[in-house]
């Protein structure tokens, strides 16, 4: 019964949200943006209320609602604001809110990487392009917006389609997530045993081992080899760490993780986990990402540059022009001066002319090449 009521509420919320978004989109005639945004907020609130009714015991942190509201509200402003610059700024707000959601999901590294990469780099690129690719307003119509910013294309059909997709997604996610059992095994023990230096440092700080005379034992020394090398004797799953001490670190003792002195904060931090996952589990992905970034860089350079190739003939013509210019300037300089003040002026002029010619030479070459 409760599930049925929440399902109905979920779909009603979806429909109300769809109506609100369709109203908020810019279009011909009246576009009640504020009213539309309020109705959309009501609908989205209804959706979250329905989710809460479905499982009252497992509500997320209250910050989740705050960040979700900011993210979705500013996303709505991104698509409904008629001015592109404001859209980009609202997108930054969406980024900040979703990095808040990342922090709630204990993904701190990605939260800050998101802010740096998105809000710091990508959005600045967007703002640059918005500034570059916008007609400067004429003096009599400063407030005018381009026609393609004022009217959106098929807002009602698009919203309807989008929210049918959302309803399908909602249903499928509801069925799918209710079947998933929460994970119970912490993934830390395996990763932590690959960080012997971290364990050693932490144990020294906890005064479980003496930093000067004791160190973590390695397997090869147990076989009587002179060098203390080989894999470390760390068995966190079994709850023991072996420590070597004495002359040549030949003697062993075992520390249990259930020791009261065992450091409680000895855990894999988020960034160590992400680092292991990236470099140990997905090294190929990093290579591919590097290639993609290189391709994007080259592609952007190829796309954005102007045509500057000069073929041999054009180069020859340009050089001849330059030669002729030089000769004419030299001839101009060689002409006898007429009078005091006027002569000084003419010399000044020719000097200027030669300077500007020198500056224009490569440019005229570019134009010749571009025309071909």
């Amino acid at each position: 019964m409760n599930t049925l009521a929440s399902s109905i509420l979920l779909f009603v919320g979806s429909v109300v949200g769809a109506i609100g978004i369709a109203m908020a989109l810019p279009r011909k005639g009246v576009s009640p943006q504020l009213l539309g945004a309020l109705i959309a907020a009501l609908g989205l609130g209804g959706i979250f209320l329905a989710l809460g009714l479905r499982a009252p015991g497992d509500l997320p942190n209250i910050n989740f609602y705050v960040f979700s509201l900011i993210a979705l509200g500013s996303a709505l402003r991104v698509i409904s604001h008629p001015r592109p610059v404001y859209s980009a700024l609202y997108f930054i707000l969406t980024i900040l809110a979703s990095s808040g959601l990342y922090v709630l999901l204990s993904a701190e590294f990605m939260a800050f990487a998101l802010i740096i990469v998105y809000a710091g780099a990508i959005l600045i690129t967007y703002l640059f392009v918005i500034m570059l690719a916008t007609e400067s307003p004429t003096a009599d119509q400063v407030e005018a917006l381009a026609e393609y910013d004022r009217y959106s294309r098929e807002p009602i059909v698009a919203t309807l389609t989008g929210f049918i997709l959302l309803a399908a997604l909602t249903t499928m996610m509801g069925v799918g997530t209710s079947k998933m059992a929460p994970a119970t095994i912490p993934a830390d023990a395996g990763l932590l045993s690959r960080l012997p230096r971290k364990i050693e440092k932490s144990l020294v700080e906890a005064k479980l081992i003496d930093g000067k005379t004791e160190r973590l034992a390695r397997a090869a020394a147990a076989l009587g080899e002179p060098t203390n090398s080989g894999p470390y004797l760390i068995d966190l799953a079994g709850g023991t760490v072996t420590v070597a001490y004495g002359k040549d670190y030949a003697q062993r003792r075992i520390i249990s993780t259930s020791n009261p002195l065992w450091p409680k904060d000895l855990k894999i931090s988020n960034i160590e986990g992400v680092g292991f996952s990236l470099l140990a589990d997905h090294p190929g992905g990093i290579e591919v990402a590097g290639v993609i970034l290189l391709m994007a860089m080259l592609g952007a350079v190829v796309l954005a540059r102007k045509k500057v190739e000069l073929d041999e003939h054009a180069k020859l013509v340009a050089e001849q022009h330059a030669l002729v210019d030089e000769q004419s300037i030299a001839a101009l300089r060689a002409t006898p001066k007429v009078g005091g003040v006027i002569g000084g002026l003419s010399v000044d002029n020719s000097g200027k002319a030669s300077g500007s010619n020198g500056g224009q030479l490569p440019k005229s070459g570019v134009q010749i090449g571009g025309g071909r």
């Binding site: 979703s98 990342y102 999901l105 993904a107 998101l114 381009a146 294309r153 997604l169 994970a183 830390d188």
Partner: protein, 120 residues
């Protein structure tokens, strides 16, 4: 204050505790709604720059879903995939915006409908 900071484990490391599947549903709904808003924006807006901004919204939605699943399953694979999402987003932004500038130089307009004759 305790309620507010309940889920925060900043700089302590490790996953605090398993997440309930109903909580995962909340995050997935946020992600889904963000995706749908981005999709609607991509279809309806006519400004090329805003259209690409809407694809970034959809990337964000995918990122939230990945991180939520990563938290739910208590491993870091989802987070490292968000690194790749960021990479693709950055590459896409650079290329798409270069294209937009190029198109704007030709027709002095950012209207997507201006390029309707470019159908293959």
């Amino acid at each position: 204050m305790n309620v507010l900071l309940d889920g925060l484990t900043l700089a302590q490391g490790g996953f605090p505790e398993p997440m309930a599947s109903a909580t995962l549903y909340h995050y997935l709904m946020t992600s889904g709604m963000l995706f749908v808003i981005g999709l609607i924006g991509f279809v309806t807006r006519r400004n090329l720059i805003i259209m690409f901004l809407c694809t970034e919204l959809m990337f964000q939605a995918a990122g939230i879903a990945l991180i939520a699943f990563s938290r739910f399953h208590l491993n870091h694979t989802g987070e490292s995939f968000v690194v790749f999402v960021l990479t693709i987003a950055a590459a896409e932004a650079a290329l798409a915006l270069a294209l937009v500038v190029l198109l704007f130089r030709r027709k002095e307009s950012l209207d997507a409908a201006e390029w309707a004759e470019m159908r293959g």
